[in-house]
């Protein structure tokens, strides 16, 4: 790999309470434009890994380079500037329920707005138009002024995607984006991620539960088990033996169609 976009080097995370070792000396790198899928059982460290990359969680040891910058060493102010270019979507959507769809989408611009304008809620006209355009893109133009607690799960996740799009991200972190959705909706949401990856050239790192989804959308898969890397390769390389190694002897593969 000539010029890795993201390098994770010996990343370790220890949670103080109960001394849980969430990640152990994890190292891998990601090239620009990849669609990397992280798989593994619940508690294998997927969420912790994604949150270490944008430092929602502080790593205990190790380094993370993003586009040549060591993000683990950045001051809070400089970290915020880096975060502007990292979109993130969540399993539970993490929207502000009492706010409208467009209100939620606009918060994606907060990193670009001077503090006083943010406090007054005075978003530039260009941002508002961009928000409507992004809602249009995820097929929710007509729901722009509806409170998000009135929306369905799939619609709410699409609001989350529109919020991430507002950031003009170079990297998208998706923490189990479809785990709370039914299979049909899952594919619709995954297709938006695929579109961002292919059309806008956004590097995507998504953690997924279903191997079938990982195979369908990922250009590369890494697998975690107890915070350690147990697989790194193309989707086609996961055979039955590898599957049992990642998920345990008793696991059966479930298809999502």
């Amino acid at each position: 790999m000539a010029n890795p976009y993201l390098v994770v080097d010996n990343l370790t995370k220890v949670y103080e309470r109960g001394q849980v070792l969430a990640l152990r000396d994890l190292s891998f790198s990601v090239a620009k434009g990849e669609f990397l899928v992280v798989i593994g059982l619940s508690g294998s460290g997927k969420s912790t890994l994604l949150r270490c990359i944008n430092r929602l969680i502080e790593p205990t040891r190790g380094r993370i380079w993003l586009d040549g910058t060591d993000v683990t060493r950045l001051s809070p102010a400089r970290m915020r500037r880096v975060r502007r270019k990292i979109g993130m979507i969540f399993q539970q959507f993490n929207l502000v329920d009492r706010s409208t769809a467009i209100g939620n989408v606009l918060t994606g611009r907060l990193g670009y707005l001077p503090g006083w304008r943010a406090l007054l809620g005075w978003f530039p006209k260009a941002d508002r138009e961009k928000a409507l355009a992004n809602l249009e893109r995820v097929g929710l133009r007509d729901k722009a002024y509806v409170r998000v607690d009135q929306l369905s799960g799939g619609q709410r996740q699409r609001v989350g995607i529109a919020r991430a799009l507002m950031q003009d991200p170079d990297l998208l972190l998706a923490d189990e984006p479809v785990s709370a959705l039914d299979p049909a909706t899952s594919h619709s949401v995954m297709q938006y991620l695929e579109q961002m990856n292919r059309q806008d050239g956004v590097t995507v790192i998504a953690s997924l539960h279903f191997l079938s989804l990982a195979r369908r959308y990922g250009t590369r898969i890494i697998a975690l088990k107890d915070g350690q890397l147990v697989f790194d390769g193309p989707p086609t390389a996961i055979d039955n033996a590898k599957f049992k190694e990642i998920y345990g002897e008793d696991a059966e593969e479930v298809e999502v169609r």
Binding site: P4, V7, D9, N10, S29, N54, L56, T60, R61, G62, R63, W65, R80, R81, V82, R83, R84, K85, I86, G87, M88, F90, Q92, F93, N94, L95, V96, D97, R98, S99, T107, G108, R109, L110, G111, Y112, L113, G115, A118, L119, G121, G160, R163, M166, Q167, L173
Partner: protein, 417 residues
Amino acid sequence: MTGYPEGFVSPRPAWTTGRGLWEAVARRADRAGRYLAPFLLDVAGLAAFWILATYTYAWYVLGATAYLLVPWWVLLLGVVEGAIVWESFGRSWGQKVVGRELASGSGRPTASERLRYFVLWHAFGLTGIGFVTVPPLHERLSGLALARERPSSLAPVPWYRTSAGLFTAAFLGVTMAAALGVTLTWESVVRLFTQAGQSLDFWRALVRPDTSILLEAGRDMIVTVFMAVLATLFAVVVAVPLSFLAARNLMRGPIGRPIYTAVRGAMSIARSIEPIVWAIIFLVWVTALRSPFAGILALWVHSIADLVKLYAERLEAIDQGPIEAITATGAGRLSVLRYAIVPQIVNPYISFTLYRWDINIRMATVVGLVGGGGIGQRLINYIWGVQYRQAGMVMILIVLLVWAIDYLSARLRAKLA
């Protein structure tokens, strides 16, 4: 992966930093507390039982009031020794409450193990020496541990076959007997009926209220409503910022936690003093000036304490998800507050404020009784002056006002939910 520096710096051991050391001490104290909790509960329980039992015995048998019947140090020695015996040789009430039981490595503790534990408790537990290690020394040396209750496949033992169950029953019985002895004398029950006629004048006046004072009383009522509004409004101004300092989830770390504890402590003290007491304090403070000002101050202080608690508990229950999401967009701290926290708390805060305003209307009347101004002060003046017809008018007005405000605040709050 060339071009990137290799390796990582290994962190300092936790106990070499001030914070790490502090946390280690705190953790140890916490664990010692957990080992001590059943003992302290037993001591307190036995002491309370003795006091109540003595009181009951003295009241019914000796016909006197007594609480100890033995020197205080005899009681102390007795209950401490009693607690240790109970915990060593049985399943004590305190152990049951915290959900722990004595267990040995092989299962049920033997009599000799229990005896060893009993003796070691005196040497190490009572002196406190044992708690330098976790688990404490007396546990290590006796081979017994105060372990978490294990789920048992056996049918539960009925309460009347356990010492803790019998103790609880005896405690309740003695409490009941003591309470009956204090409050209920036959004489007073009889008086409730035979002297009902004394209040007849009052009831009679109440149904023939004096409407001529309607205008003056109405003016005082406006004063009362204003007292409540002003006290609530000023309380909100102070309580909103304080509530952030009193929210456990926002105040973390070595600086945040002490602030949290201080604010919460001050608020619970202020709240435990009733508004009527605050009113008396402020009446003295503002040079015994009989005016609504003292009443407003009293309601203000109590409202702050109450609102901070309500607000902070709402803050502690907020969904962390939006905070995470908005932080991830690269927004600053104030933006996170404005866009992730504030939307979640605005309506509940307004709702709590309305609720408190509703309480303050009623409290403003009570505060008036001690001279805090408004309708309450008018009421008490009429009652002392035996002007029962006027007092009756005022009481009717108060009922109407409270009912109206109650209804209004409930409707508004329902809208906010």
